[in-house]
């Protein structure tokens, strides 16, 4: 039976992944801000087969509370097999371009808070000599673009940290999986016009669940063909990226 802690559990991708683990009878510790939504998700996961679901409302912007939260998860689950860090906010780029205060606020949610959780959870798993830590990054972190460099910048930090941490913790039996989704149809991207490149949350959850199953540190793109797209984009000259 898997013991799963999810931070930002109301995220659509996290919920889709949780449904797969629930089908295998997992136990959950779900952290999010919206209590009603957490309750609804908990009920759904139980129907799908989850053995037990604990919900915990918390604001993940409060950095000093994060360590305690991780230990709470560890205690409630009696150890953590899988931790998924999934919270994030898509900022209005114009707003953060114009205000350092806004930018820092956004970096706190998208970069600093997940980074702190990575360290805390990494320590717990290192002590356990076992566990998989999944960090939700994004293809946006692979290249700076005029329309979303603040979001991309935060995700770039998580990608690099996660990749390195994965190598560091491998010897301790811990895997770190950096997941870079492309365009995903979720509440976060509600305002965007959708096209053929868009994926459903379940199409991102599938690769995450499989990577966890393999138990090796890695960077995954989801859906997988984004790896090819981003390979091209990473080497594309600036005059092309400017138009993306």
């Amino acid at each position: 039976m898997k013991r799963v802690a999810i931070f930002g559990a109301t995220s659509a991708i996290a919920e889709a992944a949780a449904r797969e683990w629930a089908g295998e009878g997992a136990r959950f510790f779900l952290v999010g801000r919206n209590e009603t939504a957490l309750g609804d998700i908990a009920a759904d996961l139980k129907v799908r087969g989850a053995e037990e679901v604990t919900i915990r409302t918390a604001d993940l912007m409060e950095m000093e509370g994060l360590a305690k939260l991780c230990h709470e998860a560890e205690g409630a689950l009696e150890g953590i097999d899988i931790a998924l860090i999934a919270h994030g906010v898509l900022p209005d780029q114009a707003e953060v371009s114009a205000s350092a205060e806004q930018l820092l606020k956004n970096l706190a949610v998208n970069a600093l808070s997940p980074a702190a959780l990575m360290v805390e959870l990494g320590q717990i798993m290192k002590r356990q000599q076992h566990g998989s830590l999944v960090v939700m990054s994004s293809v946006a972190g692979d290249r700076g673009r005029p329309s979303n460099w603040a979001y991309g910048g935060a995700k770039a930090m998580l990608s690099v940290m996660g990749e390195g941490m994965g190598m560091e913790l491998e010897a301790a039996g811990v895997s770190v999986i950096v997941c870079k989704p492309g365009f995903v149809d979720t509440p976060m991207t509600e305002a965007f016009k959708k096209g053929p490149l868009w994926a459903a949350p379940a199409q991102v959850a599938g690769p995450i669940v499989r990577a966890v199953q393999k138990g090796r540190s890695c960077v995954i793109y989801a859906p997988a063909w984004w790896r090819i797209v981003m390979l091209v984009v990473r080497f594309a000259p600036a005059f092309i990226v400017r138009r993306l």
Binding site: T36, A37, D40, I41, A43, D44, V47, R48, P187, E190
Partner: protein, 437 residues
């Protein structure tokens, strides 16, 4: 105009639809005050009951959480955007099954209630709506009503088969039925005439829960009414997993319908003659048995860019044989139609739904590639036969019936309109129901 938010028949195709997405059953997006609103599920109804040209669609697939499952009693509570496919995946391995399932499992719970769908076991269990214990309905006056046979019973009856016009169904409580296996066991029997069909239907009613027939719609004269009768029961053994099958899909829309007089004649004859003996004993997994077309994704593209209309009528038992004969004669003479024909008898289990389609009698459903005036005038001729026999058409399949035809077929119509939410409307409603916005 995109392919998204059209109907399964791809006829009519409409534009000017605003779309808002429901994400939270406790707080739907605000209803559009200036335009008629309509919930949109998975877009598997064929004509225009799910369309809302000039209006706003509330996309419901985001409401796909289960709420509670009582494994002892076999009762499931879930949000309205959950697909029947997800329910079967969940409850099947635990020994439960949907009491009534339509021909595709890729439909939402809200959609099957709003269309009060039926399955091959109608003569035993009635419609889907007859097996719904309760649901929640959000209306434009801000109310969230719990509806059942005892609470808001009139709204319960108006909403089952109410085509989404009474508000938005946000969640439902369903009664399931126990099964021991995901398989079906039964027989496939060749019949040569309508009389043979009706005799088979009658003798099968008691021993078999599921019955339906395929009919060769081009057969005429002596062969008119020939087909294959399938009858089955839930198997006692066999597990629930489906055997592995190839993922098939219709990858693109061909420039012309692939279903035409020539291909139809060849297919129908081969399909009928392929079975050499009168009776074949068969065993099916529920997927190929109940949902044969679901094995080919996007099969509706086969009819080309003009799409297709499905015609489904029911005629009361008294005239069922003669009316069916007249319908099949008219269809085979026209040379139109498709291999996809279902012919079956309905039982007398009454649905609570005011506008529920089934009645004790015989129902014929078939696709017609849309070929403009020639198709529409054939369907008008079929309408006259159905109306004469005191029958009616199924709104979930319809894209063209007149208001007259509808009102004659549904005597509870006058009572129904009193429950229509004034902020709701649909392309079907404006076309068929008098005085609807």
């Amino acid at each position: 105009m995109t392919d998204e938010f059209q109907s399964w028949g791809r006829y009519p195709r409409v534009g000017d639809q605003h779309v808002v997405r429901a994400r939270d059953r406790h707080a739907l997006p605000p209803f559009d005050a200036g335009r008629p609103n309509l919930a949109y599920g998975n877009g598997r109804s064929y004509g225009d009951v799910c369309l809302n040209e000039g209006g706003t669609l509330i996309a419901m697939r985001g409401l796909n959480r289960f709420i509670a499952f009582d494994e002892e009693a076999g009762e499931l509570v879930c949000e309205a955007g959950v697909l029947l496919a997800d329910i079967l995946d969940l409850v099947g391995p635990r020994g439960w099954f949907l009491p009534a399932a339509p021909g595709t499992k890729f439909v939402t719970v809200g959609g099957v209630i709003a269309n009060d769908v039926h399955g091959k076991n109608h003569h035993r269990v009635g419609t889907f709506g007859a097996n719904v214990l309760a649901f929640s309905l959000s209306r434009s006056d801000g109310s969230h009503l719990h509806c059942s046979q005892t609470e808001n019973p009139e709204l319960f009856a108006a909403t089952i088969g109410g085509l989404g016009l009474t508000g938005v169904i946000t969640q439902a409580r369903l009664k399931l039925r126990p099964v021991k296996s995901g398989y079906f066991e039964g027989e496939q029997i060749k019949f040569r005439t309508l009389d043979e069909f009706f005799a088979l239907a009658e003798e099968s009613e008691d021993p078999y829960e599921y019955t339906a027939a395929w009919i060769d719609c081009l057969a005429e004269g002596e062969t008119l009414g020939r087909g294959l009768f399938m009858r089955a029961n839930h198997a006692e053994t066999g597990g629930f997993e489906a055997p592995r099958s190839l993922p098939l899909a219709m990858p693109a829309t061909p420039p012309l319908s692939l279903v035409n007089r020539l291909s139809l004649g060849v297919f129908n004859t081969l399909y009928y003659e392929r079975q050499r003996t009168a009776v074949v004993v068969r065993r099916w997994h529920y997927n190929p048995y109940l949902f044969p077309l679901d094995t080919i994704a996007d099969w509706n593209r086969v009819y080309g860019p003009k799409g297709f209309v499905q015609y489904q009528c029911v005629v009361p038992m008294a005239d069922a044989r003669d009316a069916s004969h007249a319908l099949l004669t008219e269809i085979s003479r026209s040379g139109q139609g498709s291999p996809l024909v279902v012919f079956k008898t309905f039982g007398d289990v009454v649905s609570p739904g005011m506008l529920s389609f089934p009645m004790k009698g015989a129902t014929l459903a078939l696709d017609f590639p849309m070929a403009g005036g020639k198709t529409l005038s054939l369907l008008d001729r079929l309408d006259r036969i159905v109306a004469e026999a005191g029958g009616r058409l199924y709104p979930a399949k319809d894209a063209r019936m007149t208001g007259d035809m509808f009102e004659k077929g549904y005597p509870a119509f006058g009572q129904f309109v009193k429950h229509v939410d004034p902020a709701f409307g649909s392309s079907f409603g404006r076309r068929v129901l008098r005085g609807q916005r």
